[in-house]
Each structure stands twice: as structure tokens, then as C-alpha cells.
Symmetry: C2
Subunit: 566 residues, 2 copies
């Protein structure tokens, strides 16, 4: 039977519970929203005893569907003060699914200063092991140590120094299947600090001796739908660039639209964007023995992962995504991919969100702390975050607080979370998503880049976000959203649901699961003290015209307030 | 006629308006609440163009009533994100009243980088003068420069480097009548940063050629009530210690009750409190030619101000209050009054709130950044705030953010504002006030130290705060609250209102003005996004027993939520 591990960090007691039947139509983001509303006091201190750290798998985990194994990490965010679900690829969700573990819930706070590993053995036994010897290691070293101790096939999700120190910018890093490196980040919202508060340095899962058998309602129906899904994926022209290049492919599109952030969201066009564009990226990959078209987890048809080598042909980083290129590159006016790749590696190693980090360095540059385009200076600040200097600890609090302390007025955050890599004046639907998502500024909640709407028009943007947000909420709960983009449709998803879970499904019923998740998230945030006043973009996007387009963000507050009126 | 100066910081236009008749029963805190609700967008950026900086005088300004000239400074607070009224003694409100200026409103933001003085000449002409030459001066030097330039009788309210740099901990400092030094602080909520954002370095008011005549409804009635008020004051035994010692007198009482904060609100008794108690204080004053029983403004009967000299008998500081002794002393386990006095001087000079500063240094000590009791290290951190080092700028953001960046869990703030000098577990009614006041943790909103109730009982605390808060809101709007404590009663206040403003008054009608002010403040905060979730003390006061008393703060949330149901 599908299991839930409940770990009390104070008593060190571990309960193995049965996964509740009423949770069976939930997974990933939708499951986190339910458990948070069932179990967590919305007004709790995110780093206090009442918050919980929840790991879970997506809805189709345990099935052979393409990219069905996302790891979701949930809790109350120390960055936003609201509900948070951050998810990532990598091997951990697959390892959980094979053990038949749907969810791991870590509760309370330890009374001692001792750190622990949460280890799940090949036979399924969970235990807390002493981990003081690993404190102070960053994630690359941590993964090496875990492989030395438990073998190469182990799955690891670990925090680095950022999470240990309670930075509000702190991720959980999981192992990328292709490279074996901890380059897959559940990045947003500072969930690494929640893990750090509970003094869990890593979750380590040995490969299961027995493989949990998914209890299909109708296995044949599922297989048929799954095959159909894979076939659509394979034939989707639009997705081939993801396989061939990876997410950095879109740099060309977003710079052409002046959507890529440039110099702390100045709204100017980055005229040097081609230096960090897909052509330059692929040239670096190919000339140095790097790779694209790899997979972060077993069983993905798209395979958008890559490996970026340095000038000597040595591994430098992987999971090097568009958002990082845009925020640690273009947003800082840094046009050297090697420098940006080093920043990506450092973020993964320290356990930092590359988006929040790029936003933070952007306000440092705006304050004149370091010069625009000075990549080495940017890396020096990352080193300060690593070392935990006084300034480094301030930067670790994220863009909002760094900006405030430096006296910066243009701070690109919503609910104190850094905007990802789309200027909301020139992609207004995404601005609506940024403003209104319970997660804080987050493109995965509803990116409108490919929506059939003029990105500069006012009309229809709120409706586009209104349509996309529940869809992305359920997509994110089911599988990797890149897979959903290509093949998630009325043709495939209802069949997958019927085959896996039974009952009768149509697409709107599926979207209903997304709407319900969003309403639970909103209710949590409301109980935590959020109001419509928190569903707003920073003033400067409303007052300062983008020099590239002459546009401000002019979707009306009333429209923002209607996005969740279903 | 009574005037309002409206200054546009962008266009540099100054309008002289007539004070609205519908505002005539308002002053100080109650007037700020009205103007904020009439003119300021609650969701604005506190340091942005939409916020306003409001200076006004109290309700009886312009009359000879004892201590009738408080300067109120209002706007949306960069520290709390809510409405803020901070007030102080000193000579500025008297200077305004003599010019017949009820209110000064500074709007918008300058487009250039140039700083200004707002100067009001002896003939009443207001103008903006270039002030770039004064940028970087702290308030003591600034006052010297203004006296050199405009003469010794000028009134000055200035910001120091804290306000210039936008610290969320930043005050406005006004001149103390007795010493001529800028030791009178409108301290709380970072209003200095609002002034800094508008690039006003100081408000400078020359002594009026003509004295504005208060338009009494019944001058004889007012004079009779005012004399009665002064007589009660003079004969009030309880207030004599304020004249003789000043506010540091209560150190003995609060340490006896284990109410004085010790080591970052540990809840322990400060066993060394006598070293900073009134005996030690008076010994330092008397042996070095210091003074007590002085006045911060002309026409106060109580005269609680003093002057603290250093070991060489040279002036060191003035306006050296209990809150400073408690938060920069006891809370840091510093028991050397000379060191605490140096901290007080530095705070006044840089333009920092001594309470917020003491709270901030408390979390630094809790984090192990400097040692408990290490006064020289504390002063070094104040110097960092003065110099604007990276760490100094973080500390300038106040206790909440410094605590977060340093990974401290016990952060003594409400609505992100530091608690003043009373442990809410051992003075629970004040805990109710801290939790619920729209101002953030603030004792002047309703201190229960002398309330006839067991400070450790649960029952009755919310009712005590419920009774006190409207009373303090109107007291603070009328005069210095120390005067009100002694003589503000049904016997005196209705007569003062009838004499000054006409109509028929009883005490409850007066309290009604306080209730209305509070409801306007609450409505502003609600529109700014505050909910009942913001009306709570930090978790640690609810979970950690005070070792001195065994008490936690156990007033129920429902009771907190009823405090403003009139």
C-alpha cells in the first residue's frame, strides 16, 4: 500500500502511515495544498515548530508516463510568508515511487543542535542518522559523500550552506539522472531554510529492493493513453527545440520581444542578447564535449537536460536553464555564458535559487554596489553568500531585503519573491500571474509566452492568466510541465486519469482539480494574513514605461481581483 | 487664520492653504489619521511618490496649557507598512503654533538628486532652499549649522544619515529647549526615511514676528480649566518623580516586576538592574553637573527633561529616557550608564530610534555576533550604522530584518516594529496593546504599568488595553501624555475642550475622538493589507515561559480581536 512517512524532528519518532484514500486524486502541488490546509497553522513561523516540510511525488508517479516523477517540496515559505510548493526533476521522486512512498512529512523542531540524515534503506526502513559530520558541506560535496557511503545508485535531496543558515533564498538540490550531479533544484521560496530549521541535511533513498506496483484502475486504458501521450510528444515539432537545445533556446524569443529582463528589469532591450542566445550556447556545448538532449529522470520522452563544460572540457554545470541565463546573465548585463554557468554551478552548490539570486544581484548593481556586467564581482558576491559574511547573509535574505537595505526603489518582487525572467510590461498576462499567484512571482504558475494574445494588449490578459493558472496547477501536480505543454490535452489527460484512478473524466473535470488546489492555496494565504493588496506588481512597473515598448503594466486591479472567481 | 503648508517635492511648489474647519477637533495623532485616510493611498510604497510626510501640532497647540506643543510626524511607515504617527517634544511645534501653522504636508518625490531645507522665515514665508552642502551631516552638526546660519532661536527638525539612507530605523530629531540639542526624537516607524526619500534634510522655522492668537470659543473658561490642570499637576505626588528624576525613575519598578527586558527579552530578571537604576542615574547626574527637572519645551509644568554629562563634566546627551536605558542597557546586559548614554547620543545624532536600535543589538547578541554586555562592541555596531557599512545598513533595517539575516528565532517585534521596554509575559495588558495597536509594538498606545490589575493575570488585560488605547490616542493628540497621566480627567479635559473649541463636552465624548482616530488607523491598515493575523505577538512569548515568573503571554486571540469592537 502507498505509504506516508511522518518524521518528528523533536522526538525523532518515525511513523509509517497509509496514504489516505481521500488524497488519491492529489499529487505534487495539489497534494501540498491539501496537506497544508489540513495540518499547518497558516500563521505559524515558517522556521518554527508548527511549520511542516512536506515531500511528495506527482499524481502519475509510479507509472511509466513520460516525466511523471516530479519531486514537490511544500510548507509555509520563509520568503513569502505564504504557502509554497517548489518542485524539481531529478531522481528522488522516482526513488520514492519505487518504495511506494507518496509523501514524507517532517514535523516540529529538534531540541538539540544535532543534524540528521533521513535515510530510507533498500528494504524500505526509514531512519534518522547522525549528520553533524556533513554540516558545512555544499551540495556537490554532499552528494559525493552520500554516494561514497551508500553507493552510486542512491537518490539524494540535500541543502547546502544557504539552507543550513536559514537564508530566505535557499533551495533543495536533487541529483540529475544524466550527470549524477545535484543540479535539479526545488528552488523557490526558501524551502531549504525550512529543512535547515528542522536540521535535516539530506534525504537519502537507496534503490528499492522491490518495486511498488501502481494500483491501476484499468491498466490497459492507462497504457493506451500513455502511449498516445508519448507519441504526441515525439511528433510535437514545437518541443523538439527543448530536446535539442533545452530551455536556453527561448532566449532568442524573449530578447526579441524585450521580455528578457535587462539591467534589473529596466524594460530596455538587451541588444547583446545574442551573446547568450541559443547559438552561442550550442557552440559552447558542442565545442567542449558538453551535451544536450539528456534526461534528468528516467523515462522522459523530451529529455531537455544538458551538461555544460568549461573551456578545458571539464564538467562545469548542468540543469542550466533559461531562467538562469536571463536573470544571472541578461538582468545583470553579463554576456559571458561561462561566467553565468559558473554562477549556476555556485547556486546549485550553495543551494540557492538562481532566479532569486539574479534578482538580488540586480538590485546590488542598481545600487552601484558592483558594476553592471561585472561577472567576476557578481561571483565574489556569491562567494560572500557561500562564506556567510555579513553582506552575504543579507544577500541570502533575497532581492526584497537586499534592495531595501541598499536603498533601491525598483525592487522586482511580488510577495517578496523575485520575478522570474519575463518583464511584465511586455508580457502582461505573465504579469497577471506574477501578481496573483499564491506562490509569489512565478512563471510556472501561468506563463503566457505562447498564449494566442498580443503580449502588449491590456484586454484579455487577466482572462488568459485565469485560464492558465488552474491548468498549470494541475499540470504541475501530474507531471513535468514541459511534457504537459506538448501533450496535455482533452485527448490524453482524461484517459490517463481513468486508467490510473478510475471514474469518468473530461478535461474540465481535470482542470477542476487545479481550481480546487488554487482555492486551497488562496485560503491558506488569506488565513496567513494575505489580502488583495498582496496581489499587485511593484509600483515601478505601473509608473515607468518600458523604453523598449513604451508600455507600463496597465491591467486594472479589479481584473487582478477577479482571476480566481471561477 | 490657521494655515496648512503643502509642499510638492517634485514641482517645488508651496501652497499655503487654510486649515479646514472640519479638522478643527483634530490634532496630532488624530489629525494624522484623518489626513492619511483622506489623502494617502494605503497600498502606496512608503518611500514612493504617493506617500506623504505630514507634520502637525497637537490639539491645544497655541494655548498656554502645560506641554501642549507636541510635534506629530505622520505617513505610511517603511518599517511596519502601516499608518504611523510618531511624536516628540522639543521646540518645533511651538514654533509652528506661533506662526499659525497647523500642518505641513510634503508630497511626491523630487526628480533631481538635489536636497532641500524647508525654511519658514520670521515673517511666515515658506521656501525650499538648496541643502546639498548639509548632506552627510548628522543631527548635532546639522543643528549647529542651522543656528550659525539662521540664529540661535531657530527651531529645527532634521534627519541624520539614517534617514538620508532610507533606514527603516530612522527618526526625526528636534531641538530640546533646555539644552538646545537635537535630542527630541519622533523615533518610531522609520519616518526619517520618508523625509529622506523626499530629500528634505531639515525643517527650519524662525521665530515668528507676530504670534498667532488662538481663537478661543471661551477664553475665560479655557484659562480656568488650564489653571486647574496646572494645579492638579503641581500637586500630583505621583508625577514629582518625573520632575525630579525623569523617566529613568521607573527602571526600579520594571526590574522589580521582571518587566524590563533582559538579554533580548529572555524573561529573566535583570539582577544587576540597580547599576542602571534611578539611584545610579541620579548619582551620575549630580556628581558631574548634569541636570534634571528641565523642560523640552516652553510652558511645561512637569519638566522631566535632563542633561547627562560625561565623567569630565562635559555634555554627553539629553532626552535620555527609560526606554533607552532599558533597551540599549538591560536588554543587552550592559550595566554601564555612561556607555548607554553614549549610545543614546549616537542614536540621536545619526537619527535612529533608540528602542529599535536596542532591539536590533539584542538580536545581534543573541546570534553571537557580539557578546552580551559588551558595550564597546555595541557602540562599534552603531558606528557601522553611522558609516553605512554593509552590515550597518542591514542593522539599519531594524530588528526584524537583522534578526532574520542572522538566523535568530526570537525576534521581539510586532508588525516588524521592535517592542519597547516591557516584557509582555509579565505585563500582559501592555502585550495586548503591543499586539493590536495599528502602530506596531508601542507602549505609548496603552501602557498598563500603572493599571489597577495584576500584571500576570489573564483576565481583564484585553479590557484594560481596550479602555486605555482610545484614551491614549486622544491624549497623544492633545498634549504630552505625561501631563495627561497626572491631570487628564473628567474634571479638566471637558473644560479645556469647551474653552478652546466650544460646544458641550464630557469625558466620554472626548474619548470618542480617540476611538474615531483608532478606527481610522485600523481602516487604513486594513486597506493596506493588514488582518487580525498581524495583531499577534511573536510566537516565542506564547511558547517560552518567562523564567522569572513562569508565565507565557496567554491572552486569547479572540480577546485580541475584540479590542477595537466599541
Amino acid at each position: 500500500l502507498l505509504k506516508v512517512l511522518r518524521i518528528n524532528a523533536k522526538t525523532r519518532k518515525i511513523d509509517v502511515e497509509q496514504y489516505k484514500d481521500e488524497y488519491r486524486l492529489l499529487g505534487g502541488r495539489s497534494l501540498i495544498s491539501q496537506v497544508m490546509s489540513d495540518e499547518v497553522n497558516p500563521t505559524c513561523d515558517p522556521l518554527g515548530a508548527e511549520n511542516k516540510l512536506i515531500f511528495c511525488t506527482s499524481l502519475f508517479a509510479g507509472t511509466p508516463l513520460s516525466a511523471a516523477h516530479r519531486l514537490s517540496v511544500g510548507g509555509k515559505s520563509p520568503l513569502t510568508g505564504g504557502i509554497k510548493e517548489a518542485n524539481s526533476g531529478g531522481t528522488t521522486a522516482t526513488a520514492m515511487a519505487r518504495h511506494g512512498i507518496k509523501m514524507i512529512i517532517v514535523e516540529d523542531l529538534p531540541e538539540s543542535e544535532e543534524w540528521s540524515l533521513l535515510k530510507i534503506s533498500a528494504d524500505g526502513t526509514p531512519e534518522l542518522l547522525p549528520a553533524d559530520e556533513y554540516v558545512g558541506l555544499n551540495t556537490y560535496d554532499m552528494v559525493d559523500k552520500m554516494k561514497e557511503r551508500f553507493g552510486d545508485s542512491v537518490a539524494v535531496t540535500a541543502i547546502g550552506k544557504a539552507g543550513e543558515r536559514g537564508y530566505r533564498n535557499s533551495s533543495l538540490q536533487s541529483i540529475d539522472h544524466a550527470t549524477g550531479k545535484p543540479s535539479r533544484a526545488a528552488a523557490r521560496g526558501g524551502m531549504g531554510a525550512v529543512m535547515g530549521a528542522k536540521k535535516i541535511k539530506a534525504v537519502v533513498i537507496e534503490k528499492s529492493n522491490e518495486r511498488y506496483a501502481f494500483p491501476y484502475a484499468d491498466k490497459e486504458k492507462f497504457s493506451a493513453a500513455s502511449k498516445k501521450f508519448a507519441e504526441i510528444l515525439r511528433n510535437n515539432e514545437g518541443m523538439k527545440w527543448l530536446h535539442e537545445v533545452g530551455t536556453p533556446a527561448i532566449t532568442e524569443i524573449t530578447s526579441g520581444m524585450s521580455v528578457i529582463p535587462y539591467r534589473n528589469f529596466s524594460g530596455e532591450t538587451n541588444k547583446k542578447a545574442s551573446a547568450i542566445g541559443p547559438g552561442a550556447y550550442m557552440e559552447k556545448i558542442h565545442s567542449r564535449g558538453g551535451k544536450t538532449g539528456e534526461t534528468c529522470q528516467v523515462g522522459c520522452v523530451i529529455q531537455c537536460s544538458g551538461c555544460y563544460n568549461d573551456a578545458n572540457g571539464e564538467y562545469l554545470t548542468s540543469g542550466f536553464e533559461y531562467e538562469t541565463v536571463a536573470l544571472c546573465g541578461s538582468n545583470l548585463d553579463i554576456d559571458d555564458l561561462d561566467v553565468i554557468a559558473r554562477m549556476d554551478r555556485l547556486c546549485d552548490d550553495i543551494g540557492l535559487d538562481t532566479m532569486e539570486t539574479g534578482g538580488t544581484l540586480g538590485v546590488c548593481m542598481e545600487a552601484g554596489k558592483i558594476a553592471w556586467g561585472d561577472g567576476e564581482a557578481a561571483i565574489t558576491l556569491l562567494e560572500e553568500m557561500n562564506e556567510g559574511t555579513e553582506f552575504g547573509r543579507l544577500l541570502g535574505q533575497g532581492t526584497y531585503e537586499a534592495g531595501k537595505a541598499l536603498g533601491v526603489k525598483r525592487i522586482p518582487t511580488v510577495k517578496r519573491q523575485s520575478l522570474s525572467a519575463y518583464d511584465p510590461r511586455n508580457l502582461k498576462g505573465t504579469g497577471v500571474t506574477y501578481a496573483t499567484s499564491a506562490m509569489g512571482a512565478d512563471h510556472t504558475s501561468g506563463l503566457t509566452l505562447e498564449a494566442p494574445i498580443d503580449p502588449l494588449a491590456v484586454e484579455g490578459q487577466a482572462d488568459t492568466s485565469k485560464f492558465l493558472q488552474p491548468m498549470m496547477a494541475i499540470a504541475d501536480s501530474m507531471m513535468c510541465i514541459f511534457n504537459w505543454f506538448s501533450a496535455g490535452s482533452p485527448e490524453t489527460i482524461p484517459g490517463l486519469m481513468e486508467g490510473a484512478y478510475g471514474g469518468e473524466w473530461d478535461f474540465d473535470k481535470v482542470l477542476g482539480l487545479g481550481r480546487e488546489a488554487i482555492l486551497r492555496e488562496r485560503a491558506f494565504n488569506e488565513a496567513a494574513g494575505f489580502t488583495s493588496k498582496d496581489d499587485r506588481l511593484p509600483e515601478f512597473f505601473l509608473n515607468e514605461k518600458s523604453p523598449a515598448s513604451g508600455q507600463v503594466f496597465d491591467v486594472k486591479d479589479e481584473e487582478l481581483d477577479n482571476v480566481f472567481k471561477y
